[in-house]
Symmetry: C3
Subunit: 473 residues, 3 copies
């Protein structure tokens, strides 16, 4: 069967490079030496069991659609129900082939989006697909991919090597025993570095349902009590030590806002007790959470775990979808950001402490030039985190560099993070970032703000020295 031009899927080697021949040539020249550089992935959400088990991936829908809220959300916005995409616990879940057809039939809605870009990269570069998804090609692609995914070539560990992942950080609950990490580290047949990251978000707000249960599990993991505020602090410290022993270099923090404001101990104890009794108010919850963010900063200044902060997300905006399909179903939405005033106390106390390190992420891009870059441009501890969620796209990465470089240069930025739970998209995302940074550097060179030799050094540093240094890898 011969495809028409419109049906062929083929990646252009110059993709994302501007048309201008001077810029394109410079961008290509700057990109080529880093195109195949190993990947440092210091912030992501891949399950370590994936690499431990090394089982074949499931069907194409299970691999590329159902778990990826980036894909789900635009299909849902087009009128496809989340249930038909495999979310929720239907008595008879939809067949993978049916889900795959929904993606292919609605392929047009992804035109111009980063989701299209990542999916095409994965299909063409990793899976060797040569035809575009469409209503016509859906079944054929599904059959081909299903077969492919059973082959040994596409097992997680083979891909881990093929992707040249030097470091992969996961995100883990403080109560997690890190069994998968331990088993991976002990496995002589696996030589990759897979590091846990300490994410204590579930313990911050005593007004939220389930808090006492989570505390109980944490107490068990820590081998010490969490029925007092002091106990919780001690348990968190103990678990951080445990994470550090198992390779962790960073914490991940996603509170609703960036305020870090210490409470007097007796007030913290009062709220803690109220939380255990189920009587903590919303205001109590906010005060306690802001206090814990401060305490987590203090712990980072003490134990040196890099503190990653990405506040400002309305989680699960659509209550009916939350009830039917659970969290991470595509309706988390950006809130208005704020850093300079909220972080004043933390930065006054730890901002010039050489042991403290704070990487600031945002989903509100107005904060790049107004708050994040100016903070990173003064405080030695602060780094401007790469564009994250909603902004981890070719266009937004360009705007990020344009917004932060004036105040923070390149060396106070974090290097790219892929932040993904879609294992196959890791190389596509890093490649996108390398191309986009090459374009930005090419424009500085072309306008004589930077010479080519220095631009080469920066392009290299952005994918090696900078992430290694910033995340203490």
């Amino acid at each position: 069967m011969t495809e028409t031009a419109a049906q062929i899927l083929q990646l252009d080697p110059d993709r994302l490079f501007p048309a201008d021949p001077t810029i394109r040539a410079l961008a290509r020249e700057l990109y080529e030496p880093v195109a195949d550089a190993p990947i440092y992935s210091p912030h992501g959400h891949v399950d370590p069991a994936l690499l431990l088990d090394n089982a074949p991936f499931g069907d194409p829908a299970e691999l590329l659609i159902t778990p990826d809220h980036y894909v789900l959300r635009l299909l849902h916005a087009t009128g496809v129900s989340l249930g038909d995409l495999g979310r929720g616990d239907a008595a008879t879940p939809p067949d993978g082939r049916e889900i795959w057809r929904l993606l292919c039939r609605n392929w047009y809605v992804f035109a111009g989006t980063p989701v299209r870009y990542w999916l095409e990269s994965q299909l063409a570069e990793i899976l060797g697909v040569t035809v575009r998804p469409s209503e016509e090609s859906a079944d054929r692609l599904y059959d081909e991919l299903s077969e492919l995914l059973q082959s040994d070539e596409f097992r997680p560990r083979t891909l881990f090597d093929r992707f040249k992942i030097n470091v992969l950080a996961t995100t883990d609950d403080p109560a997690d025993d890190l069994a998968a990490h331990r088993a991976l580290a002990a496995d002589p047949t696996f030589t990759g570095r897979v590091l846990p990251t300490f994410r204590a978000d579930g313990y911050l707000d005593p007004s939220v349902v389930g808090w006492p249960d989570r505390l109980a599990r944490l107490a068990e993991a820590a081998g010490s009590g969490t029925d007092s505020y002091r106990g919780l602090i001690e348990a968190l410290r103990a678990r951080r030590r445990y994470f550090i022993e198992h390779g962790a270099t960073a914490t991940d923090n996603g509170p609703f806002d960036a305020w870090g404001t210490p409470l007097p101990d007796n007030e913290a104890e009062r709220i803690h007790a109220a939380g255990l009794a189920g009587t903590a108010s919303v205001e109590d919850g906010v005060a306690y959470r802001r206090n814990l963010l401060y305490q987590l900063a203090a712990m980072s200044a003490d134990d040196g775990l890099v503190m990653q902060l990405h506040p400002g997300v309305h989680r699960s905006h659509h209550a009916p979808s939350l009830a039917r399909y659970g969290t991470d179903a595509g309706h988390d939405l950006p809130a208005v950001g704020g850093y300079t005033e909220p972080l004043r106390r933390i930065l006054n106390d730890f901002g010039t402490d050489a042991n403290f390190r704070l990487v600031l992420f945002t989903v509100d891009e107005t904060t790049f030039s107004r708050e994040i870059a100016p903070l990173a441009g003064f405080y030695p501890s602060v780094y401007a985190g790469a564009p994250w969620w909603f902004l981890d796209t070719p266009a937004a990465i360009g705007r990020y560099r344009a917004a932060v470089t004036d105040s923070a240069g390149f060396y106070k930025t974090s290097g790219f993070i892929d932040d993904t739970r879609a294992f196959l998209s890791i190389p596509a995302r890093h490649d996108m970032s390398r191309r986009t940074d090459a374009v930005y550097l090419a424009e500085l060179v072309a306008t004589h703000q930077l010479d080519l030799a220095e631009a080469h050094t920066i392009a290299q540093d952005l994918v090696t020295t900078i992430p290694k240094t910033v995340f203490r890898l």
Copy 2:
């Protein structure tokens, strides 16, 4: 008389296309097939009586200056009084020629602005003017244009056909009897589609002067009482049915903010009574208005009228100018926008209802990537409205596409709306949008993020399928 180069007015066929030859060629190729496509204008402020009466336009000032707050505002900012531009009710209003001279003399202040772009388009393309406005050319242009405007070629209906307007939506008060719309529909000599749009803004705030009078007029139109909250709700429902019978497919809503929060009936009745008694407080007014926005959303979910929402405007900022020159005199100003939190209740209740449709407009462009596109990228009911007022410009439209495509693609955007009361500017505005979208698509093609065939399809859909579908035309 021969003009020097600087005096000649001539539109370049490649206007708005970037200099880069690759992008320019692609943009031209994408633009050409849609250049003469018919116009869908689903949101505007043209008076339907204009087409019913089909009388010649007045003098050039009356046509191009006095009613257009875009033109007025920058002349006023340059030191020209609104009275000298024909606003207000001076005993001896200024002569049209004098007003025209003021525009021509101050032509330089419009350099680089969209107002200049639209006026030049209208003068050159529609009115056949070949010389630039200037102090020297003012009288000659005024005489030529005055004569031209008396000719049959420049009557509204002839222009309506010449502009290839397929659908023109007006904006109308719920108490309006739609006589002009009915007469136009009944007129066998006019075959255009002119649709009313239901705009209930005047009924939302009981603390505002004149509310009881407006309610009385509405009661008369609806043939039912409005002296209770329930009565008002019923009257609005009745008038929506009436508008639907006369072709309406949408409502227009311009409250100060986007909050939609239902009140208990008895509280709404209390405020309603206070409003009639002239004792409603400002807080009462806000609560009642936010409740009514919610109720209007509920009605849209019920009757299927597309809800257009464009909050966030400080109306009549300069009180002395309001007192002397009335509303729409150029000092409405953008406020800070907010959608995600304010609309949570409406979207939780109706966001996935297939009958409900919500088009979000903004005058705060920070909301495009942070709020509007992410909402349109999840909720099937929500569409990212085209850049509107202050942002309906070549530069801002480009920023809009760059900001919304990542999360919403093209198919969750609304298509262009001209939002104008300046009838002659309709084709110039749509043409600007088609050119600007062609440039955006050309850049995606040139950077290999989209292939040319699909870009052609999108360019077509943006001016046909998309507005027709989104606005249920």
Copy 3:
């Protein structure tokens, strides 16, 4: 000694011009006629004593590093202590050579930043340096520059002439006797125009430490009492008259926010008395400050001094650094801006007064298209101030033009201000602005939105007529 290419410092004549040959040729053509135009500097922080004394500059560190918070902040962010950069009052302050080495060693962190751009311009164009700063070249550069700075060629007055500065405005306390300005004006050997600017920020907030002392000094300067609110108002009026007599045409105002809200006299008197007694609350301070901003606007409407307003800076964010190193040490940070609502009262009362003039600056670039340009596009008194602090960079100036031109055109913008205390950077900053504006104009010409002749006129006006008119020079 021969340098390698990477070591040579050489400014490209086409720097900041885009690679596209059409745009580059147009930008160059538009830039060339204004490249050497005289400089109007209506807003800056150079000490007039510099020109009065005309003493040689100190060592290179004292000239280029220690006083410049732009340079300090990124070095500090890289881990260099402010003390090692010469700030604070160490018993043994660091040697200039050591400070210079710190800059050279950390030269890489400035890659792509405007600080690098300005420093390279100064080194190459003014000081004739031909080698890049680096660890290797540090000592050699230090020696060469130290020698050079002792030569007569590099005395302030020689440079003032060489820079073609037509007007230089300083920033001065109302209690200042303007002795340096008077002496300069009286000096027949100096023909430059150096104007004072009235900055009353220190008198606005009675809740701040030191307020009574500042009032006492002001009383002495004014020859009238400041122990009542009325007295303070009179003293400020008197000092404004004094400043006007000595050439001032403008005031400089940097309150935390833009609110201007009059207080009843008795309430203002109450807070005034509380301030003198040291019992004014924070809320008192805010109310009094906002009242005084209103009164200063009223005075401007009366005496015609142009009111420059640049609110929205968190001053001295890091308390420990403030305690050790004083103010202006690099940790002033941008706050969220707001103009439309805060300025409503001032603009309702004085916005259309021909004697009143208000230039709005911001460090929050979201306000350019949403607030500042729409205000400047209606109120004859309001001008959109050039990008200032954090935004006075090639990239941000481009974004500024793109954001403000739609609503305000070119003739309601202020023209460039350098806002610098680094005397040597004045020509580099103005040159950067001229190049960047030439690029913006070139793009309008290339996209046929402006013809070349008019673009030439605008490029000229932006550096002559516009600043002269806006600042009443």
